[in-house]
Amino acid sequence: MNYLADILPPLLQGSGVTLQVFLITLLLAVPLGLGLALIRISRFGFLSGLVNGYIWLMRGTPLMLQMLFIYFALPFIPVIGVRLPDFPSAILAFVLNYSAYFAEIFRAGIQSIDRGQYEGAQVLGLTYPQTMRRIVLPQVLKRILPPMSNETITLVKDTSLIYVLAMNDLLRAARGIVQRDFTTMPFVVAAAFYLLMTLVLTYGFQRLEKKYAVYDE
């Protein structure tokens, strides 16, 4: 028990980093993903194609590679080249990567809404932005809850990738102690922490699904 008390502080500290990356990514990537989805389905062919290419790039290469690229290679690119510290590098990579996945979830959700909803709104005089905001997106939200729940849970665990930038997230903190003390106990504790985080998320999403279950389609 004493040993547990010893290793808890560094693991909690690691959890803090993990949660920071998770929350900031979620906060930025969800709106960005929605924006990308709206451009993707818009009638502006060029922009839509650009977003399509972006999604291909972000989903088609490993997140770890993207992170390494932003941290190590970005500084050497002319004009846009900047040297970012490790934390912003990680956040940038996560936001760019996850917004691509969120964009596809939003797109699937928006395109699953019946044409009749748009027509019903149009003949009542609603503009396209009003129709999106008041009629389509609220219904989309309900439909995309299951895939969004999937994606956010994946995000919690993906945060462990930031160890490649030598940042001390939960998993790297645990591994450090394991290597120092020759015991696998910290791994068990780390697993428990991850499970706790995903439990909170699972519960939250189930609450949301229940809230939206007041209406059927």
């Binding site: 027509e119 019903g120 009542l124 005089g125 009629i135 609220p138 219904q139 059927d216």
Partner: protein, 255 residues
């Protein structure tokens, strides 16, 4: 302005790809008139209705609503719509009811009615709620105002859809096969609601397969076939003595 008909469509042409679904449809609808549009499937009657409220764009011809142009074709044959803002304003004179209701499932019945007045007309909640409730009483669904559409029967849904369209206070109501998706025993309640509306002298165009409704409620009946109007005559005349053999053949099948 006073003399212009509520709706004036002249030589309306519409194509879906290479298929010409409207081959020059012209029609005037007067104030307070109840017009039934009948005809076989694929005759273009729904498409024509959808063109009037800009759910479809036309390729030639012109449409005027209460004397205001929605789209016109010049002497060179260029078909041109009025600017976007004017399209919205002109189309708002009309309400529309669909075959599949198109109610908003995430909103309650009352919310379905007040959504557009609040968003489009920026009506005040205190003003619009009593109006919406009065409309729900009129269609006999006041007690359902806090239900979600999924809890309603088809007939109830369609009555809500009618009330929702009326909440925007249109001058003209368009009905696109309003009873075609309903179980036969539920069509009566919807037709009764429409009949009540007709008795208040609402200008109505009803695309329908309900011959009894067309005969009893409509002042004039338009028979369409193959993308054209074959004949448009007072209901009594058309049903008693159809002038055209195609009309006669259609009516024989339907009655």
């Amino acid at each position: 302005m006073m003399n212009s008909p509520m709706i004036r469509a002249v030589d309306v042409h519409k194509r879906f790809g290479p298929v010409e679904v409207l081959k020059g449809v012209s029609l005037d609808v007067d104030k307070g008139e109840v017009l039934a549009v009948i005809g076989p499937s694929g005759s273009g009657k729904s498409t024509f209705l959808r063109c009037l409220i800009h759910l479809e764009t036309i390729h030639r011809g012109s449409i005027e609503i209460e004397g205001e142009s929605l789209v016109a074709t010049d002497a060179q044959g260029h078909c041109k719509y009025v600017p976007e803002a004017d399209i919205c304003r002109v189309c708002r004179k009309m309400g529309m009811v669909f075959q599949h209701f198109n109610l908003f499932p995430h909103l309650t019945v009352l919310q379905n009615l007040i959504e557009a007045p609040l968003t489009v007309k920026t009506a005040r909640l205190d003003d619009i709620v009593p109006k919406a409730e009065a409309l729900l009483r009129k269609v006999g669904l006041f007690d359902k105002r806090d239900s979600y559409p999924s809890r309603l029967s088809g007939g109830q849904k369609q009555r809500v859809a009618i009330a929702r369209a009326l909440a925007m206070e249109p001058d003209i109501m368009l009905f696109d096969e309003p009873t075609s998706a309903l179980d036969p025993e539920l069509t009566g309640e919807v037709l009764n609601t429409m009949r009540a509306l007709a008795e208040e002298h609402m200008t109505m165009i009803v695309v329908t397969h309900e011959m009894a409704f067309a005969r009893e409620v409509a002042g004039r009946v338009v028979f369409m076939d193959g993308g054209s109007i074959v004949e448009a005559r007072p209901a009594r005349e058309l049903f008693a003595a159809p002038a055209h053999p195609r009309t006669r053949a259609f009516l024989e099948k339907m009655l």
